[in-house]
Structures are given as C-alpha cells and as structure tokens.
Symmetry: C2
Subunit: 383 residues, 2 copies
C-alpha cells in the first residue's frame, strides 16, 4: 500500500491523480490533500477518500470543513497547511500538483522529510532548480516527473547511463495558435486561447501552451531534472502529441515514449515507479488508426516566449524566477481582459531586460524577486 | 578491450560489423572470422584486422589462404571451422551473421562455451528456438539481438520488467512491393524484388522483405528472444523504417526506438551493451526533415507468408523449421529464375500442409526435416 499526499487536489492534475487512486484502491491510499477555494469539490474528495489531513487556502473555509469532517481528520489552512500536507508523517509519495510558485516551499519541506516527490509543479524547478536539486541529492530523494514530456524522458532513460545522452528532444503540440501568424495573434480572445487542440488542462497552463511558455518552462525543468545543458535540449513541433518526448544517445539511437494524450498514464507511472500497473480502462494507442505523425522545426521567431526561456535558463541564477513571475502575472492580466495576447510576451521581455542577475539567489531572494516582478508587471501600463 | 568472433564476415551484416570494429579500434579486437567463398574479401579482412583464426567454406580456399597468412594465424574450413570460430578460446562475443540454418550448430556450441552471442542469424531461433533458449538459460548466456527490430525491442525493455509487457509491435517497411496488388506481383522479376526501398541488404533477405517472410521470421524470433506469446506480437506497416519497433506496456505506455536505417547502430549496441559508444560519423535522425511518419494495418491476405509464420509459430515444434527450409529453397529457386515470385508462397504453403508436426524435435530431427523439406521444394514441379 503506497500512501499518497496530494497537493492541488481539485486542480486538473489533482483530479486525474484521484482517478488513478480510485482505479487502484488496493495499491494506493490517499493520506493528505490540499486544495484552494473549491470547497464543494474538496468536500466530495473527503467523502470518497477520507484523508487524515485536509488543507485549504482560506481560514474561513477550514472552519466550515472542521465542523463537517469525521473525528480524527485534521483540517488546516494557508501556507502552514500546505507544508503539513507536503510532509505528512504517514506519506510515502507527495504529488505536488499545485499551480504556480506556491509549490516551492512545500517541495523543499518534503525533500527534507525524505519523501519521494511526484512533481507536477513546474515553478518549483524553474524558480529554484539549483536549490531543489541540491537538497534532493543531499537527502537522496527521488523527484519523479508527472508532466507527460518529462515522464517520457524519464522512461526513455530507464536502464540507460545519462553520460550517453546526446540530447533531450521535447515535443510540442504548438498549442491553440500553432497555425496563426504573429499578425493573426494580435486580436485573439481569451476563449480562443483556452481552446487547446490535444490536452484538457487548467486555464493558466492552456494559455502557457498557446504562448509556448509552457514548453519553455519544460525546457528549464528538464535541464534540472536530468542535468542536461540547454545546448542539448531541443524542442520539436509534433502536432499529434503522440510521441511525448525523446532522448537521443551518443550512438545516434533515439528512444521515445508514446501514448494517447491521457495525463493519468504518466501520473500512474510516477506513483508505481519502478513498476507499472495495468490500466484496463485506459484508451490504447492505435498508430494505424492515427495514420500519420507530423514533425516540424520550432519557429523561435514566432514563439518568442520559448526563446526567452532558453535565454533565461542559460543566464541562470535569478533570471528564470523573473521569467516565471512575469509570466504568471501577465497571464493573469490577459485572462482578466486587461492586456492583449501578445502583451504577455512584451511584459515578460520587459521584466527580463530590467532585472539585474543574481547568480546564486537563496530562497529569500527568490521570494523577493518574485513579488517585485509581479508588482512591476501589474503596474506597467502598456496603453 | 572486447574480443570478437565474427561468423559471416563477408556478408552484409559482417561487413557492417567490421565497420563498427574499424571505428572503435581501441575498444574491439577481431579474434576470429568465418567467411564463405568470397576469398578476395576474406584476404582484405585478414590484412586489415589480422585475426587469429580464419575459417572459409571450402578446403581448397583454406589451403590457398594458409600459404598467405602470417605465422600464428590458423586457417580452417567447413563446418568444423565454423564451430571453432564460434567458440574461439579468446572470444568474448560471437557475432553470428551467417545466412541460413547453417548458423544453428555453431550458436549452440558457443552457448555451451559460455560466449555472449550477438545474433543476426534468424534461422537459429526460428528452427530451434526451444533448444537454443533452453541452452542459453542453462548456461546463463546472453543472446543480444542485432536485427534492427529486435534491437529496438531489446532497448525498449531496458529497465523494464517483462511481466508488464502488453504487446511487442514490430514495424515493417513493407519491402519492395508494398504498393503492388497481388495481381501486380505475378510477373515481377528478380531485379525488381531486389530493389528494397529503405535498407541495403543481401539478396536472400531482400527477397524475404518483398514476400514479408522476413517480418514473419522476425515474429518467431521475437517470440523466442523475449518469451512473448504470438497473440501479443503485432506487425505494423511503417514505410519509413524510422521507428524500428515498439513495446506496449500494461499501463498503455508505448516505448519505441528510432533511428536512421543504419544497421551499424544496432550492431554496435550489441557489441557495447549495456553501454553505448558514440558514433560521431553516423547520420543523425532529423524528424523535422523527415516531416511525416506513416502507419498502416498489415494486410495478411496480401502478405500470406506473414500469416504462414504466425501459423507455423503457433503450431510450434517442427513447423517453423519446415517453414524456414521451404522458404530458403524456394527463394533460391526464384533467384535462379526457376519459379515466379508468388510461387515462393505456394511452395511454402505446400510444404507446411504436407508436414506432420513433431512436438519437441531434437537437433537431429530438425536437420532431417530441413533436408527433407528442401528436397521436396526443389523437386516440386509447379508448371
């Protein structure tokens, strides 16, 4: 029986993690969850899985839930609640599926507590990869990727020696706007941007797919997870999202992981690793039915956010934290109808240009840079 | 320094194995070779690699070579020479790249001698898989596949537990005649059949590609190499031969190995396993340049030899030996201009129908069945 803490239980990855646990009730037990403000959904999860610890974002919600839950269920709130969820004493694996840079501190706390971490929170590695990977190595903790791309690379590397890697090839569907020119991107609406061709995901990550920022953040994450220089990480446009990513070795052999676009497969793999459990109910890949797989070079001129990510990653230090905070704030303004789609790029670029690099920022510095960048983006008037 | 015996040195796989050794002279030493009747090429190999043992097919050729080679080089001939090549005392790895069922006995001798075997000779496993795999298990000897398809599957299985396999998916380019109807196949010439779209190979195996017998023999070989029932082995038409084969796991994840169509990559992998050596001179896979990969269901009506292979494999016992001998004899008759292309199928089918199954044939029985089937095919008048 593997005991699981799930941070971000009511989000897209969180709900799919619950599906995996539901399908394997003899193997998995849900020990602790954290959720945001979706109390109706949180209540359902408590009823179905009966976790020992529940944490929500707001104090008032926690107080309502406290009166409802069974005796022995602990209810917490806020950052302290998140931290307790992350390193609950009975937990074997923490699934970190919260959105945004709020995922960083709980991850570090779980690493110190020696938990295995299934990591779906990009920002943890993007903003503080140097700190997180050092802590993981020091505590001999495994970081198992949940993202389909990183899970694919991780699967391709089983039984292999990382010294033999020539390059990581991260595939990209191209997002909602892959067939639009830059001019055509000028007037796109929030609804258009939220319509992803292959994957069903949350709003922020869907916008990040449309700008290709999502792919760029994955590049930075891959750099940290697998210890590969940016020069050896490639992004390949692959519309069908069937090949989830690849690894090329020095001998020119390329390993790839394929599947239908179903996040439950990489989630389950992270929870069962190094074993695999059957998924009798999941859809099977049928390549003959699909018929063709397409591949194209990535257009860095068209997808500037991707270029910014490579640049920020290579600059290192505090730069990726600026990139990430600027993007989060800019996407929020776009979803809020305050700025246009292409303004997201502009705000990120301005934030990066303005920032003076700190080479080895500590957690306090990263937190400050994060707040400062958000303030800058929120106050900038592009009119 | 890994010491290599190479059987079938002047054939297509043999010459490419020599390329690999040539490119890695600090890591590999050629200890022993066997060749057929191509004495000019054998002489060149002796001059370049200076092996300690050389074996050729005919006594008279051996006697000519004996007078030419340096002192200390042993020259042998015939079956006895093959057997000595297979288990030369200084050899670490035997590359068995001979064509046809002549490869069986030397493989068994090498297994008894505890050599690691890089196996490119299909007939060894097709005709006597039950005997060979039992001997390999008993002597704890590794059989490393050289064929691009089996090497791909072998690479996909690294770090995995075979209990989690759902199916093996062997890809097939479809050979020279993949776009012809059965009616169009009636009058095809030997030259047309020898023109393979993707791979440069020997004559017999190129004809086997055109009839799809090659793919069928690979199915039987995969059954033995990986211990997977025929019901869980699929063949998928994939024109570009870029995905060399795949493994689907119970969790619906599919692992694939890709590369340019260059046999030196799987050959080198078998020689360096579990490590990989760089191939700085090899062509790299560029999927963006290739643009599209195609996949189609296999047409078992059109490619009857493939169906015969599944049937013979499932029947088991002596049936695959009949299939293989009938095919070898029939292809020889086709290359000799005696029969038409579709007569190959007919001769195989008649041989299988006529044969009475022996459930656990020993080596003597397999040898007899082989001769008997060849005689039957050679004497049958289809006129």
């Amino acid at each position: 029986m593997r005991k699981i803490s799930l941070m971000g239980a009511t989000g897209s990855i969180g709900m799919q993690t619950l599906d995996v646990i539901r399908e394997n009730k003899e193997q998995f037990e849900l020990t602790a969850i954290s959720a945001g403000r979706n109390i109706a959904e949180t209540r359902k999860i408590i009823q179905e899985f009966n976790p020992r610890l529940v944490s929500v974002q707001l104090k008032e919600d926690a107080e309502v839930l406290k009166n409802e839950v069974a005796h022995g269920t602990k209810v917490l709130w806020g950052e302290e609640g998140l931290l307790e969820t992350a390193c609950h004493q009975d937990t074997d694996v923490l699934v970190n599926a919260v959105l945004g840079s709020v995922g960083l501190f709980p991850t570090l706390r779980a690493i110190e507590a020696g938990k295995t971490i299934a990591i779906a929170n990009k920002e943890t590695l993007v903003t503080a990869g140097h700190i997180v990977m050092e802590a993981a190595a020091r505590n001999q903790v495994s970081l198992l990727p949940v993202d389909s791309e990183h899970s694919a690379i991780f699967q391709c590397l089983q039984g292999e020696n990382t010294k033999n890697i020539e390059s990581l090839i991260i595939t990209a569907s191209g997002g909602s706007f892959r067939d639009r020119t830059r001019t055509e991107l000028e007037g796109v609406t929030v609804d258009e941007a939220l319509n992803h061709p292959n994957w069903s995901m949350g709003a922020k990550i869907t916008i990040d797919s449309a700008t290709m920022m999502n792919k760029g953040l994955e590049v930075i994450e891959a750099h940290w997870l697998f210890g590969i220089p940016y020069e050896n990480i490639k992004v390949l446009l692959h519309r069908e999202s069937i090949i989830h990513s690849m690894v090329e070795f020095h001998d020119s052999s390329v390993m790839a992981q394929l599947g239908t676009p179903d996040m439950r497969v990489p989630i389950q793999y992270a929870l069962t690793f190094p074993d695999r459990f059957a998924r009798p109910r999941g859809g099977r890949l049928n390549l003959a039915e699909i018929g063709k797989l397409h591949f194209e070079e990535m257009d860095f001129e068209r997808f500037r956010c991707l270029e910014y990510c490579f640049e920020a990653g290579k600059a290192g230090g505090s730069m990726p934290a600026v990139l990430n905070a600027a993007n989060e704030a800019a996407v929020a303004r776009f979803l809020n109808g305050e700025i246009s789609f292409l303004d997201i790029e502009t705000l990120i670029e301005k934030s990066l240009t303005k920032h003076e690099l700190i080479k080895q920022p500590d957690l306090e510095a990263i937190r400050e840079i994060d707040s400062e960048t958000r303030r800058f983006v929120n106050e900038l008037n592009l009119g």
